[in-house]
């Protein structure tokens, strides 16, 4: 059991959890992920490492409630335990002094982007960060990102915070404003956002690193369920990634593979919500 030491709600669907996992924390580096399972019945799901504290032996994960497993995990409290917490998995981000870099995060992708941005800043890069969400109540970690960036641009789809629009707009402007000066771009968020960020940087030939979030089972290279297609063939995201050159990724294949278990996921969510309603009804009836 891996104890949950701290939990907070970042927005209506996202939780932050600090989990005691000293072995994982000792080795964790920016860009890696863990495989988490709630209990004996749970699925193994990959979650990117949002922060780590080697001294305290903790890992911070951000959980977005998208399916039954994440919803259920969201109901756990401080003091509860997670049955599985395996990691750190995948290759860490290649952090070097590149010069000026841009770190682009969308929605829950801001969480894994944070330690990468911090590491890039600590390595002596000038970091321009761009973060975005649908609206201000979904946006989190603005201050944290600010603290590790030389410049931070915030945008929301509805304009409720920062400028109105999607992250690719300020990204394109940046590449226009400072031609040839941006050495590398990191783009992390929903697949569709990473796809468009990669399309935006392609004409400028700026290497663009994305962190792919495919369906996984073991997370150790054993099943191939996580495979993605690059220009030159398939890769296993869990061991060859999770970071890849966004210009080489077959995004349509990725998006379609992410949808494979959609029906089953919906079925599980409905069943879960139904059970929650029953529990509530019982609780109300009993009081």
């Amino acid at each position: 059991m891996y104890e949950i030491l701290h939990k907070e709600r970042l927005n209506p669907t996202c939780h932050l959890m600090v989990v005691a996992a000293p072995g994982v924390a000792r080795k964790a580096r920016a860009g890696q992920f863990v495989i988490v399972r709630t209990d004996e019945y749970g699925e193994r799901i990959p979650l990117t490492i949002a922060d780590f504290d080697r001294d305290k032996g903790t890992i911070t994960i951000i959980l977005q409630e998208v399916g039954k497993s994440t919803m259920e995990m969201g109901t756990l409290r401080v003091g509860d335990g997670l049955a599985t917490f395996a990691g750190p998995l995948g290759h860490p981000t290649e952090v070097q002094q590149y010069g000026t870099v841009a770190c682009v995060g969308g929605g829950v992708g801001i969480a894994p982007l944070f330690p990468i941005t911090r590491a890039l800043k600590e390595a002596g890069n000038e970091v321009v960060s761009i973060i975005g969400a649908r609206s201000s109540d979904l946006l989190f970690w603005e201050e944290r990102m600010e603290s590790v960036s030389n410049r931070l641009i915030v945008c929301t789809d509805d304009g409720s915070r920062g400028r109105q629009g999607v992250v690719t707009e300020p990204l394109t402007e940046l590449l226009e404003e400072r031609p040839g000066q941006i050495a590398r771009v990191w783009a992390i968020g929903p697949a569709i956002m990473m796809k468009f960020a990669s399309l935006a940087t392609r004409p400028y030939k700026v290497p663009t690193i994305v962190s792919l979030n495919t369906i996984m089972v073991d997370g150790t290279g054993m099943c191939g369920g996580c495979r993605c297609l690059l220009e030159d063939g398939a890769r296993f995201v869990c061991v060859d990634g999770p970071e890849f050159d966004g210009h080489k990724v077959d995004w349509d294949n990725l998006l379609s593979r992410q949808q494979f278990y959609r029906e089953e996921e919906q079925q599980a969510v409905e069943r879960w919500q139904h059970r929650c309603q029953l529990d509530e009804a019982v609780a109300r009836g009993g009081s």
Binding site: A86, G87, V217, T220, N253, S256, Q267
Partner: protein
Amino acid sequence: MAELTNKERMRIPRQDMPVQDAAARRANFDEVALGLETEAARLEAERCLQCSRPRCVEGCPVDVDIPGFIEAVRTGNLSEAVRIMKTRNSLPAICGRVCPQETQCEQLCILGKKGEPVAIGRLERIVGDWELRERTQALEKAPSTGKRVAVVGSGPAGLVCAVDVARQGHDVTLLESLHLPGGVLTYGIPEFRLPKSVVMGEINHAIENLGIRLCVDHVIGRIATLAELLDEYDAVFLGTGAGLPSFMDIPGVNLNGVMSANEFLSRVNLMRGYDFPQYDTPVKIGERVVVIGAGNVAMDAARCSIRLQELHGNGRGEVHIVYRRSREEVPARAEEVDHAEEEGVIFDFLTNPVEIMGDEAGKVTGMRCIRMQLGEPDDSGRRRPVPVEGSEFDLPVDTVIFALGTSPNPLVFVEAESLSRSRWGTVIADEETGRTTTARVWAGGDVVTGAATVVSAMGAGRRAAADIHAFLAGELEPWSDSET
């Protein structure tokens, strides 16, 4: 009862093992083969001629005294049978169920020359099952030596090595990357062939009695490297298996509905996907499933598919096994092939896929195959399948499961440059001792041989354990320079 003459013994027919009815078992994951009844087992044991130079033992990769244990079964002394068995094989309940007896011990049985061989595997199973219930043989640990040994991987090789090393009084830590121990026994071989209660029963018994520390969720190469283990432990055994799946290099392998047998079987067995939505991990099965390959892995995948179609689908559907060679070359255990056929799996021999087709949404819709014929023998001595020109045809399919060969998962080799490996990625180790090219590192099982068998992995674990103990006891020279 009076002693029988050999003639009389040879008149006793080979005793059939009761099995679940084929129609019924298509719709459940319960064990198919139910084990011999006590009287049938005694009769079967009577069939053994107690050869003075038993050939069967030569066929056993771990040299079990087969006539010895069979004689104990015949006289009803099961605890003696267990004792004899366990001096060579610590997991008889498992081996009795999964060993390919027809190509090992039973193939060499003298009775097989004219009739049917003694059902050694079935007898082994009843001995193992009896001991699972009775626990007559104590697993004892010698006084502590203070030496620490890390065993990486908890499949049959790692388990047996851990048990044997721990019995000598060494302090053993068993490191496993998944959340459950057992390796292929847990994630690969389905419940209906090897109940998980048998596997976990054996593992828990060993761990508790020998004080083995089991650390699951420990992916070596990530949470700790081999070099770090060597700092902390006096000896390290690598039993990490051959878990890396392979796909064919044909168009369409990344379509939705195409998966490796490892993924499919892990979802079904390790994650209990057949119990979805009780268990959270979904496993999708189509109405037209094709499994490519004809080893045990393929049979398991096909038979799980049949069951999922019955349980989760509407019972309609077809499951095909597509194999490029002919029936004679099928590498799976004979019993599994028979069971698969009884359950309705359709075999397409001398057939090879050339392309997988999909729709706009990226879902599999069909598979183009080509007919094969057998040509000249290849390196393995089997006749090489060659395509028959112009014989392509399309199969409508919605699920494709690749059950081709697997190779060692390289994760454990991170920062382990001194560990020599073959060009197939397998670890180079001495066959007798399990010693690798890195000092204080032993290896055995599929990680050394490539995908093989449970019993050969166990044998390798046992031989390495003996060498590790001799090494730790100072009875052996430390690694010679040529080895390091």
